[in-house]
Amino acid sequence: MNPKLYASIAVIITGLVLLYGISDFPTFGDPRSPANSGVEGGAPSTSLYYINESYGATKVPNLVTSVLADYRGYDTMFETVVVFAAGMAIFAILRCFGRDDEAVITAPTKSSIDGDHNRIIVGTTCRLAVPVVQIFALYVVAHGHHSPGGGFQGGVMLGASFILIALAGNLNDALGRFSERSYMTLASLGIIIYAGFGVLPQVLGKNFLDFGVLEKFFLTDGPEMARSHSMLGVEIGVALTVMSIMFAIFANLSSRGTLKGGL
């Protein structure tokens, strides 16, 4: 039989199950929905706890950041590991340390973009844009406590700034600034920073990621500020990993794993 028929049947059944589930949704924006205030007659939900308590406990005004980087920091660490693992899987598939002759055959060295074009306009614009992009990215990383932002977003922007260099000039320019050795080191280092912030409290006799105990290191008054500062630390770790992996995936994809030529 036609495989599309099976697929359609599966899609229809899934759709019906989802519609059945939708019949039970709370109204949009309902303040008394279980996710907002907890099950009726039960304990208040965790989101209510975050809204009421998280500022007092962490001194971070943006409660998305405090939930992400502290209460559920363990998840966020593994999300960073997911990014790292995705990068490693892509390198494992693509990266070829082939001898030069093989590399030349497969890599798209000469493309219509590359060549004798006068690239003054593109080159100058990008040279001007890259520092601005990077400074804004650093701002986004550092300002995650107060406004939307944080390590993932800032890291993506940093990675994009290097990709911009590669697009405007060529891959070798970008690799000259950010070599394979440095992106592997920084990608690993990012998670080491994150997990290191988790292990440090363990050394001091507390649980993994219990930032409050780090107040001695930060010379702050009280565990709340220590949590706040540690969150900045882990965001920096996330940004390093995301930046490196972003650029590395681009470099590997665009040069078919040879890291030579490319777009």
Partner: protein
Amino acid sequence: MLEQLPALILLAPLFGALLIGLVGLHDRRACFPIAFASLVVSLASALGAAMRAFTGGAYNYFIGGWEEPLGISIVLRVDALNGLLLIAIAVVAVLAVIFTIRPSSEKDTDKTAYFYILFLLLCVGLFGITITGDAFNLFVLIEVSALTSYGLVAIGTSRRCKMAAFHYLLMGTVGASFYLLGVGYLYLKTGSLNIEDINTILTTNATVAQSPGIVTAFLLILVGIWIKMAFFPLYGWLPNAYSYCPSGSSCLLAPLMTKVSVYVMIRVMLSLFGLEWVFGHPGWSDLVVWLAVIAILAGSIMALAQREIKRMLCYLIVAEIGYMVGGAWLNDPNLWGLTGASYHILADALMTLCLFLFAGILFKYHGISEIGDLGGLFKKMPLTSIGFVIGALAMIGVPPTSGFFSKFYLIRGGIEGGHPEYVGALLISSLVNAVLFFRIFEIAYFGKNPADGHSHDHGHDSHGHDDHGEAASPVLREAPTYALIPLLAAAALILLLGIFNGQIIELIRTAFGNSAIVVSNLR
């Protein structure tokens, strides 16, 4: 320090992977020692953490130190059931990593560092799935383990393993998405992600528990996990992915990925929704047991049709998944089915490891992948054969191997739960396994020379080639020590698990808590 053991189980391989990321690319010789050392640390911590749960009962480890109220942070929870599985994962990982040592003659590939990074991160994911007490965190770690396993399948050099990995990626992503969607529905109805917390809400609040949203959540989660574990109609990705991937990867993937998914299903039924809720829906149990019966029979029959050892083992995994899903859903009054399924997770992890190591040795050192080429094996490779025979007997279910006892408990559950079709399927499948493996024994024992390895049917036919197979026979030699150690250790553990089944069953049943009558004098 001892309180930190639950976190240490996954931190050790995580830091191992990162360390390889820092130094491994420059010095490939550093990769294996780092990987081995970090997995040994995990094994030690898993033993310590599990021992505490065996003696003192289940306990929580609060990440970030947020204890009150439950569910604002992520909890690691160790009880007897996942304690045993943690040990099993660590043991399998240590044995599999020993198998990945390359012989000095073999050309070192440039991808060694990536291989070990993915290998360790996969272990991190599996440990994390097993130990976590949080429904969403489970998803994050499913992602970690899934991404790394796609990489481990695709790292092979052949084209078809890349295709297999792609297929695996599509199916795996659908499975993980279904799980995530289910968790979303759960959060919508309960406002919590902590497994214990959700369970309390569902048991105390009947209106929530019976609402369509919760039922949808359960169905989505269940189907998602079924895709991940390759339950029968959803198994399509498994045979190619596990048979075409490099031997080193398959020795870790095949024993653990599907088994950990089965554990997740049991955890979801037992701790998240609760058995009363799951079996409170009339008809579900019967339906799933019938699906499992089809899975068992289909897996066995397809295994019978295979010529390659690894592919045959892959279809046997499909059948074994049927055993475990069926056992968990038997709904017999004393929960023998669930007990048997939980015990079989451990037993099957070890015997799959054993058989995949055997297949890996043959393929890696002799280039043999077809059953017909095994002639003269027992004489030339006696130690390898011992390991293989024990693994095969466990698969068939011969006492005192662990395979016998898991089938014993599963069949007991099937009889007490009133599911003769399940019992019948188990017996037929055991018979098929006997046919499959005795066919291999026959070839390996009586077949004097390996046949030239293509274009003829399996089994009896290979004898016909004896007279002229001499010239083409590959040289069979005993495998090197570092390949034999994991194989024989796995075989020994299969026997130990079988011999000490009484104690292990008791431990498993303590994890079922109030819903099970702990019967200790059953040996």
